[in-house]
């Protein structure tokens, strides 16, 4: 094996192979469709295929506002990790005061969650 080729060359070859594997069957199917089966669209044929079940309604439904409230609460706890990460990384060298401080921070967030829970935000009706 030659050593002066880039180590990424193999990856490139694999990628091209993967692309071909994906595209060739699709291309063959297209070719087959064009030559052997002329298009005859109908209501049944154009229906959305859902594993044999009749599809209900449109995909463009409106979400309930509750969904967004979930999203907002999620957002808060999602971004909380931005503060937890530095805390976790430097955990070994922290003083007791710093530990209490971050616990107070977490406690405030938990309070928010409890409040939302008590307000009935978390239950779907």
């Amino acid at each position: 094996m030659q050593t002066d080729t880039s180590p990424y060359l193999l990856l490139l070859v694999l990628m091209v192979g993967a692309l071909l594997l994906a595209l060739v069957p699709i291309g063959l199917a297209r070719l087959w469709a064009l030559t052997a089966s002329p298009p005859k669209p109908g209501a049944e044929k154009n229906a959305i295929y859902e594993c044999g079940l009749e599809s209900k309604g449109d995909a463009w439904v409106q979400f309930r506002p509750q969904y967004y409230i979930y999203a907002i609460i999620f957002l808060v706890f999602d971004v909380e990790t931005v503060f937890l990460l530095p805390f976790a990384v430097s955990f070994g060298g922290l003083s007791a005061g710093a530990f209490v401080a971050i616990m107070i921070f977490l406690l405030l967030l938990v309070e928010g969650l409890v409040w939302a829970w008590q307000k009935g935000v978390l239950s779907w009706k």
Binding site: P65, Y68, I69, A71, I72, L75, V76, D78, V79, V82, F83, P86
Partner: protein
């Protein structure tokens, strides 16, 4: 170009794109996205100045960014809540139609 200049160029572009989005779009949610872009442009600046600045030992820049990410998230949360409230009243998020008060 130095890496700092490239970063500043990108962040300025980001800021300009965000501002353009915030000022020209009528959909409140897209305006919100534009604002987030602008905030992130500021964050990128902070990181760039911190990394390529004279004293990257002081963590000022990165601290500012961590907190402003938190702020941006809070802003997104409040903004989304306001947009939901808006939608309940007007059945639209088109900002051009929201002008019931005139002086």
């Amino acid at each position: 170009m130095t890496p700092l200049q490239i970063c500043l160029l990108i962040s300025s572009l980001l800021f300009a794109i965000g501002l353009a989005g915030a000022l020209t779009r009528r959909n409140a949610i897209i305006v919100l996205m534009g604002i987030e872009l602008m905030l992130n442009a500021g964050n990128l600046n902070f990181i760039a100045f911190w990394r390529f600045g004279p004293n990257p030992e002081a963590l000022t820049g990165i601290m500012f960014v961590i907190f402003s990410i938190g702020i941006a998230a809070a802003e997104a949360a409040v903004g989304l809540a306001l947009i939901i409230a808006l939608y309940r009243h007007y059945k639209t998020t088109d900002l051009d139609q929201i002008n019931s008060m005139k002086g």
